[in-house]
């Protein structure tokens, strides 16, 4: 049984963040489904917002888990989160064969099942004996799968398996269906995987320490999430109309700029002293 060390005082209770994370991500993902209903793709950026909301919640889950001595680095929790999340996510996209509306909800349920089993294994079989381990690994798996689902929805405008495997290429004026030009066939998933993994493992790893504060860590999570969203918006050029891509890109860059400046402000607030170092000047000859 390990001793818990309080990471930071104050802040929002974890249960409330869980609620906001799950409900917020679900609502955003269902808004993406409007794309299919209205035959458009301008709502794709809501997928990115869903991923960022999930990452915001997941950062606090990592913090709760790492308040106990894991013995290994914080990034490992991010890797298991996405590693198991991608399995739940891909399986959930197949549920669209029953009903497309099942996908986001099914994703959460399947991820919770896989995560609970993995959490049980690490807590009991591997004798970690950390009280919150089962719950937090389950939460992290859900976060990982929602991140994958959100970013995938943002890239392709859909989270239905049959849409994800079929792309179209224009060949001599004819549009041909091609599996290689799709999100899964083109292995865009590998890029999304790492973008999500970096965004979830970095914030607490960067901000931890005796001076860690809740709002700064969470702002770092938002900043990392929006940065990944920016890259995803660029990648969506291959699958969406130009109008939708521009909307995604502008929203991502505005939100990233806002979160970055807020994060710098909070870092200055928490710092003992702040030296605004100028670029290196050429001193010779003067």
């Amino acid at each position: 049984m390990s001793v818990k060390i309080e990471a930071s005082e104050g802040g929002m209770p974890h249960d409330k963040m869980l609620g906001i994370g799950v409900v917020g991500a679900l609502v955003c993902l269902y808004i993406v489904y409007l794309n299919s209903l209205m035959s458009t793709d301008v709502f794709a950026f809501f997928g990115g917002l869903a991923a960022v909301i999930a990452l915001w919640w997941g950062t606090d889950s990592i913090k709760t888990l790492c308040s106990y001595g894991l013995g290994t680095g914080v990034p490992s929790a991010g890797m298991i989160s996405l590693g198991s999340g991608v399995i739940a996510f891909l399986f959930a996209t197949k549920l669209a064969g029953i009903s497309p509306l099942l996908v986001p909800l099914g994703c959460i349920i399947i991820a919770a099942i896989i995560g609970a089993i993995l959490g049980f294994i690490s807590d009991k079989v591997l004798n970690m004996n950390i009280p919150v381990m089962t719950r937090m690994i389950a939460e992290l798996t859900i976060v990982g799968s929602l991140t994958m689902l959100g970013f995938t929805a943002m890239i392709s405008g859909s989270f239905i398996f049959t849409d994800l495997i079929a792309g179209s290429v224009s060949f001599l004026g004819m549009v041909v269906t091609s599996y290689a030009a799709s999100v899964i066939g083109g292995c865009i998933l590998a890029t999304i995987f790492m973008l999500g993994a970096i965004a979830i493992q970095h914030p607490f790893n960067a901000c931890l320490g005796p001076n860690e504060s809740w709002d700064r860590t969470q702002m770092c999570a938002l900043e990392c999430g929006f940065l990944s969203m920016l890259v995803v918006a660029v990648m969506s050029v291959a699958f969406l109309s130009l109008f939708a891509v521009v909307i995604s890109f502008v929203i991502s860059i505005i939100l990233w700029g806002w979160s970055y400046s807020e994060y710098i402000k909070l870092s200055k607030r928490d710092a003992y002293a702040w030296l605004d170092s100028k670029p290196i000047r050429e001193v010779g000859g003067e």
Partner: protein, 276 residues
């Protein structure tokens, strides 16, 4: 090397009840696949063996963490998850190229890829330790190197757990790379067989271009399962390990039990993907 300074918590010994439950999970997963899609039973067992190979192999890799970067502990100066991902994924890519030549060559290519990456990493780590940091290789856990017979205490600095990368740790790193690369490739290869067989029937389409879909799906699932098995092993080791001579190495049975259950569950969902 805990993030917040809390003591690492991994206890010794095996929890019999939990291990039994884990084995039951393995059996249930195999039974479910046998009932809904019998052709995938053998591939699922292959996936489980792959997960076991990964988790057994990671125990060989000398992981030093942050103390190693400061020359206060032996091993490579990074975390288990990163090292396992590096060695295993290099092996996985190597094996994936050779998948068309059959399982034996594919596994061999995967093992060589992982082992090669770890060999180069260990060599360069020692070059940096010896020629840049100026520290000799010495382990603090054993009196002398089990392979070369060199004694360590005269070379060990006071107040450290040893430093550098002794020969036994180097051998351990290469062995870990071999096992990890082979395990990752085995998961990939078995899933690829399932997808190549099942995708044309459930998509109701021509096989034209479906290979690339099978490769992508098997690849991303193999990466995910590899990371799951590697991180579970990292939790079992709780931070740092010097190699096969470290007392922590004796913890491998429970990581093998845990990883087999984890791979069984993940493999079950990966195979059910083509069934529903």
């Amino acid at each position: 090397m805990s993030a917040l300074g809390g003591g690492s918590s991994g206890g010794e010994g095996i929890n019999p009840t939990a291990s039994l439950i884990a084995l039951v999970i393995v059996l249930i997963a195999v039974a479910v696949v046998f009932l809904v899609y019998p052709a995938a039973t053998v591939p699922l067992i292959g996936v489980i063996i792959g997960g076991v190979l990964i988790s057994f192999g990671v125990h060989f890799v000398p992981v030093g963490g942050a103390p190693a970067a400061m020359g206060q502990a032996p091993g490579i100066a990074t975390g288990v998850a990163m090292l396992a991902a590096g060695g295993g994924l290099a092996g996985l890519f190597g094996g994936a190229w050779a998948a068309e030549f059959g399982i034996a060559i594919s596994l061999a290519a995967g093992a060589i890829g992982g082992g090669l990456l770890m060999a180069i990493t260990c060599l360069m780590v020692n070059v940096v330790y010896v020629f840049a940091m100026g520290i000799p290789a010495a382990s603090g856990k054993v009196y002398k190197d089990p392979i070369t017979g060199d004694v360590f205490p005269p070379y060990k600095s006071q107040g450290t757990e040893g430093h550098g990368l002794p020969f036994i740790s180097y051998v351990g790193g290469v062995l870990g790379g071999l096992f990890g690369g082979m395990g990752g490739t085995l998961i990939y290869y078995e899933l690829l067989q399932v997808y190549e067989e099942a995708l044309p029937s459930f998509l109701g389409a021509t096989t034209e271009g479906l290979t690339i879909l099978a490769v992508s799906l098997a690849g991303i699932f193999a990466v995910g399962m590899f990371l799951v098995a590697a991180v579970l092993t990292a939790y079992n080791i709780t931070g740092t390990i010097e190699g096969p001579h470290d007392p922590k190495f004796k913890r491998w049975p429970r990581a093998v039990i845990g990883s087999s259950a984890a791979s069984a569950v993940c493999g079950l969902f990966a195979i059910l993907l083509v069934v529903i």
